[in-house]
Amino acid sequence: MSGQTVPVDYSGHMLDLDEDEDLEVFSKKAPVADGNPMPNSPSSMVNQFRLEEDEPQDVNAKDLFITVDNPESHITAIETFIMYRVLTKTTRSEFDSSEYEVHRRYQDFLWLRSRLEETHPTLIVHPLPEKFVMKGMVERFNDDFIHTRRKALHRFLNKISEHPILSYNQHFKVFLTAEELTSHRKQGPGFLSRMGETVRAVANTVRGLKSRPEEFAAMQEYVDDFSNKICTVDKVTQRIIKEEREYLDELKQYGPMYGQWAESEGNLAEPLKAVASCVERCGKETEEHAHHLSEVLVPTLHEYILCAETLKAVMRRRDHIQAEFEAKNEALASRKSEQEALQEEVDGLSDRMEGSNEALKGDWFRWKAGMRTDLKSAFVSSAEKNVDYYEKCLAVWESFLLSQRAESSDQQDGEDVS
C-alpha cells in the first residue's frame, strides 16, 4: 500500500501535475470517423478544461471515452475464453495517442480492479460483473451471459473513467493502451498480497475497533440497510419478470382460441378474429416490456448490489487502517523505549488513517450522487416503458372498437342482417 497522501480537492486537472507537467499539450490527429461521442476540437476543449479551475468535473467536459464491444471466442490448447475489444478515445495529455484499440479478457479486468483497490483502498471502485453464475442454468459462453457481461464491463470502465482520481491511475492507463497486458500484470503485488490484506482485515475486525467515528458508523449502518433494500428490489423485479413471462405463455394460448372459434361462426367470425389479433399484439408488447426490464432495470440493480458489497469491503479496509493505527498508538503509549522510531511509525499510520478517511468521505458523496442518478434513471426509464406498454395496448383495443362501430353503422345503413 502506498503512503501517498491523497489531495482532498478532486478537480481532476490538479492531479495532472503529479507526473506529466513537462509534457506539451498534444495536438489531435484527424477526427474520428465512426460516430463516437467525441468532442470536435479537442485542443480548444483541453484549454477550456484547464482554465476552469474552480469547477468540479463536469460530464460535459468528459475527455475520455471508452467502449467495450465485439466479444470474440478465443480457443487455445488449454482453454477457451472471450476477448473483448476496448476502444479508447481521449484528449488527455497523459496519453501519447488520441485513440487506442486493445483486446482484453475478463481476467484482465479483474487485474485492473484489484490494482485500483490496492492503490486506493478506501476509494469506492465500481464492481465488475460476477465471475460466473452458480445457479447452474447459465453457461459461461451463453449469448445472453456474454451480452450482459459486456455491458457491465463497459459500465465498469466508464465509471472508472469518470472518477476524478481513479481515471488517472497508471494501471488504468496501461490497461487501456498496452498491446500486451501480460508483462504488466506480472509486476507489482498480486493476488496473494490482496488475499493477505483480506485476512488481516478480517482478523482486525474480529479484534474489534475501539470506536468508529460517528460518520463512519452511520455509513456502515447505511451500507447494511442499503444492501438489504437493493437486494429486495432486485428480487421483486426478477419476480415480476417471471410472472410476466408466465402471463405471456397463457396469452399465447388464449388469443388463438378466438381464432379457432371464428372458424365455426358466420357473422361473429370477424370480431372474433379481430379479438384474437388484439390479444396477440398485446402479447408482443408484454414480451417487449419484460425484455426492457431485463435490459435496463435488472442490470442496474445488480450493479448496485455488487456496489453494496464493495462498500462493505471499503468500510472493512478503512476500519483495518484505523485498527492498525490504534494498535501502534497503544504500543507507543505502553513502551518507553524506541519512542522515537515508534512515534514516526505512529505518525505515518495516523497520516495514512487521516488520508484514507478523507478519501472515503469525499468518494462517499460522489458515490451517493452517482447512485442516485443511476437508479433514478433506471426507475424513470422503467416507469416510462410501463406507460408506453399501456399506451400501445390501449391503441390496439381502441382500434378494435373503432372497427366494430364502423361495422355496426354499416349494418344499420345497409339494413341487411344476414
Binding site: 433494500k229 372459434w261 365455426s264 370480431p271 433514478k376 426507475f379 416507469a383 410501463n386
Partner: protein
C-alpha cells in the same frame, strides 16, 4: 350500436353495471329483445336482492341457502317520471328456478330455453371462492337469474306462459300449480332419447349441422373460459408482486435523504397499482358470465335437437309399424307366409285356421292399419310442426347470439381499455415521483 336505437322497448339486462362502459360513450350492455312482448310492455322485472336463510331440508337437517328477491312493477309508472310505485315482491330460491325451467323444457320442447346461471362456480381462478355462499358468487348469480327472467320475458312464446306469470307473482301457490300441470310425467325417458339419437335412419340435415355447431361451440367456449381463468390468475400475480415494491420503497426511503420523498410516493403508487387488479378482474367476470350463458345455451340447443331426433324416430317407427301391419294383411289375404312368424309356424304344425278366424283377424288388422295410418299422419304433422316452430326459434336464437356475443366482445375491449388507462395513470404518476428522486 344498440344504444343508438333508442327504442323504449329495448330491455336492459338489469344490474350488469360496467362502470367502465358507462364512462365510455354510454355503451350499456343490452340484449336485443323482440320488440314488444306483451309482458315486458306492461311489466318491469328485477332480481333485486339476495339473502341468506336457514331452514330444515327434506331430510330434516339444518341447511343454509340463499333466496332471491323478485320485484315486479307495472311498466307505466316509470314512464311517468314520478316516484315509481312500490314493486310487488317475492322470494325464490335457486331450486325453484330450476323447477320452473324444467317445466319450460318439457312444455316447449321446440324452443331453446334460456339457461340458468351455473349451480356451482366453475372455471374459477385462484382468488374466486368456489363457495356457493361467497358474496361475489351470490351477486353474480343474482345477475344471472335476473338475466334468465328477462330472457323468458322477452321471448315471444315463453312470455305468454301462465306459469311464468305465477312464478313472478304468486309466491305460495306457484309450486303446486306447476306440479299440477303434470309436466314431470311428460319428460322423455333418457333411454328413449339416446336410442333415438343413434337409430334415426334419415336424420334432418339442418339439425345435424346444428348439433355439430352446438357441440363445437360448447367445446370452444369451455376451453376459452378455462384459459381465460389462467390468464386472469397470471395477471393477478404480476400486479400483486408490485405491492412488494411499495413496501421496500417505503423502507428504503427511510434511509435516504434526497431520494426519500420520491421513493416513498412512488411506493404508494405501486400499492395502488397492485390493488387495482381486484376490480379489474371482478369486472372481467361479467364477461366470463356472458360467455358462460352461451355455453349453457348449447345444452338447450342440444335438447331441441334431441327432441327432433325423437320425433323423427317415432315417425319412422310408426311408418315401420304400419308397413309391417300392411305386410301381415297381405300375407293373411294371399295365404303366403313371407315373414317368419310364430303364427305361421303353428299354422304349419297344427293346420290352417277356419274362415271365421281368418275374417276376424283381417278385421282386427284393418282396424290396426287404420290406427297405424292415423298415427303416421299424426307423427308426420308433429314432425313438420316441430321443424317449423323449432327452426323459427333457432333463427331467432342465432341472431340473438350474434348480437349478444358481439356486444360481449365489445365490452371486453372496453374493459381492456379501462385497464390500460388505469395503468397509464399509475405509471405516469410513478414516473413523476421517480423524477423527484
Amino acid at each position: 350500436m344498440m344504444a343508438e336505437s333508442g327504442s323504449s322497448e329495448v330491455a336492459v339486462i338489469g344490474n350488469v353495471d360496467l362502470t367502465s362502459t358507462e364512462l365510455e360513450n354510454n355503451i350499456i350492455n343490452t340484449v336485443m329483445v323482440e320488440r314488444g312482448t306483451a309482458l315486458l310492455r306492461r311489466m318491469e322485472i328485477n332480481v333485486a336482492e339476495a339473502e341468506k336463510r336457514t331452514g330444515k331440508n327434506t331430510v330434516n337437517m339444518q341447511e343454509t341457502y340463499t333466496v332471491y328477491l323478485i320485484e315486479t312493477r307495472p311498466a307505466e309508472t316509470i314512464a311517468e317520471g314520478g316516484t315509481p310505485a312500490a314493486p310487488d315482491t317475492l322470494w325464490r330460491r335457486y331450486s325453484e328456478f330450476e323447477l320452473f325451467r324444467n317445466y319450460l323444457l318439457v312444455t316447449y320442447p321446440h324452443i331453446i330455453i334460456p339457461p340458468l346461471p351455473e349451480k356451482r362456480a366453475e372455471f374459477v381462478w385462484h382468488k374466486l371462492s368456489a363457495d356457493n355462499l361467497d358474496p361475489d358468487f351470490v351477486e353474480r348469480r343474482r345477475v344471472g337469474l335476473e338475466n334468465f327472467l328477462l330472457r323468458v320475458a322477452s321471448h315471444p312464446v315463453l312470455s305468454d306462459d301462465e306459469m311464468f306469470l305465477r312464478f313472478l307473482t304468486d309466491e305460495k301457490r306457484w309450486k303446486e300449480a306447476v306440479l299440477e300441470t303434470g309436466f314431470q310425467d311428460k319428460v322423455d325417458s333418457r333411454l328413449k332419447s339416446l336410442s333415438a339419437m343413434f337409430r334415426v335412419k334419415n336424420p334432418d340435415k339442418q339439425f345435424t349441422a346444428l348439433k355439430h355447431y352446438s357441440d363445437d361451440l360448447n367445446t370452444i367456449i369451455s376451453q376459452l373460459l378455462r384459459v381465460r381463468a389462467k390468464v386472469a390468475d397470471r395477471l393477478y400475480g404480476v400486479y400483486k408482486v408490485h405491492g412488494n415494491y411499495g413496501r421496500v420503497f417505503s423502507e428504503w426511503s427511510a434511509i435516504e435523504k434526497e431520494m426519500g420523498d420520491g421513493l416513498q410516493s412512488a411506493g404508494h403508487h405501486m400499492d395502488t397499482y397492485a390493488a387495482s387488479i381486484d376490480d379489474i378482474l371482478e369486472e372481467e367476470e361479467h364477461y366470463a358470465d356472458q360467455l358462460k350463458e352461451y355455453l349453457f345455451y348449447t345444452d338447450a340447443v342440444r335438447s331441441v335437437c334431441r327432441k327432433q331426433d325423437l320425433i323423427q324416430y317415432e315417425l319412422e317407427m310408426a311408418v315401420q309399424d304400419l308397413s309391417t301391419k300392411k305386410q301381415q294383411k297381405e300375407e293373411l289375404t294371399s295365404g303366403t307366409v313371407r315373414i317368419f312368424s310364430l303364427k305361421g309356424m303353428t299354422t304349419k304344425l297344427f293346420g290352417q285356421e277356419s274362415q271365421e278366424q281368418r275374417e276376424s283377424k283381417l278385421e282386427a288388422l284393418d282396424l290396426s292399419i287404420h290406427e297405424g295410418e292415423e298415427a303416421v299422419n299424426e307423427k308426420n304433422r308433429e314432425c313438420k310442426e316441430f321443424l317449423q316452430t323449432a327452426w323459427g326459434d333457432i333463427e331467432r336464437f342465432r341472431e340473438q347470439k350474434d348480437n349478444d356475443l358481439r356486444e360481449a366482445l365489445i365490452s371486453y375491449a372496453i374493459m381492456q381499455i379501462s385497464m390500460c388507462k388505469k395503468g397509464i395513470q399509475v405509471w405516469s404518476n410513478a414516473k413523476e415521483c421517480f423524477n423527484k428522486m
